[in-house]
Symmetry: C2
Subunit: 201 residues, 2 copies
Amino acid sequence: MAKMTGTKTPRTARGERTLRALLDAAAAEFGEKGFHDGSISGITGRAGVALGTFYTYFESKDAIFRALVTDMSGRVKDHVAPAMALAPDPVTAEGAALAAFLHFARDHKEIYRIIDESEFVDPASFRAHYEVTAQRIAQRLRHAAEAGAVRGDVGEVHAWAIMGMNVFLGLRFGVWEDGADLDSIARTANDFIARGLKGGD
Amino acid sequence: MAKMTGTKTPRTARGERTLRALLDAAAAEFGEKGFHDGSISGITGRAGVALGTFYTYFESKDAIFRALVTDMSGRVKDHVAPAMALAPDPVTAEGAALAAFLHFARDHKEIYRIIDESEFVDPASFRAHYEVTAQRIAQRLRHAAEAGAVRGDVGEVHAWAIMGMNVFLGLRFGVWEDGADLDSIARTANDFIARGLKGGD
């Protein structure tokens, strides 16, 4: 788990488990009730920890919400990375990243509500989530360009375009529709990206 | 203006001007303060109309917010349509649509806050906004395919991908950065889309 402002870093394995339980409980609480109706007692009840324990880790409801956005951002990255590592080339890796993300969105539908609500609860976290994600995609595209796998002039516009595709495909097919064939959708989107990033005429 | 639930349709030109003034005032009020802190008296104050007049058109704060999402959705469409009509081919038209949308987002930065907040205030309007927009793009893509301008199997996945690109490029370069060269960004994105939608190997 990344270091988070307003969050005490646990020093023991047991402390790490408690922090993980609090963040998972916060995801369930805010995902179901939203930030305003969600409560610290709802979180500690779900996590099965005492109220005093909560304050060992977080100073407020705002602090755990902020930590949760950072945590979810990191969990998406960690979920997507192994799928990308197995891909034979950088463009296929983007498709693998999308497929992994679509499955993550289906299994963690609350992520949309939480990230989207952060625009209002904590605008800096909202912006940081997307800026960091776009920077990560842009860096991958630059490496792909250096390897000759995509056009040489890929940049920030392509990164934001690909991130936007992923976010909306995740909303439509991961969150809103339970029966969609996510791997087929990822293949269609990846073919679109692969052609789109080709150089030449 | 489209027919909206909870909204009385004005019968005179003066009535239409009042309704327009109320919707513009609501965009400013909710864009600045958000839904919860925004108020009917704030809206009537900005519009320069009496409180009683408000209730001639809308039954509640919820009703004008709902009407505003529908109105903004329609205004984007109306702003983008003339730019598309001038384009020489269906693929260039998508680029023209994006450029027009980026300029609209820069000039109406409140649209993001309002549409995004509708996810929490009025989820049905949020969903309808994106479903209608994606259907519009999908229909354009089908026409382009029939004209042989893009691959034959374009569909819903491509439409949601393009919409997601547009939304995130609008957020990043229209709303967050005032100095970005929007036409250059639209050209880069359109080149990406044009290549992405090509058929063949």
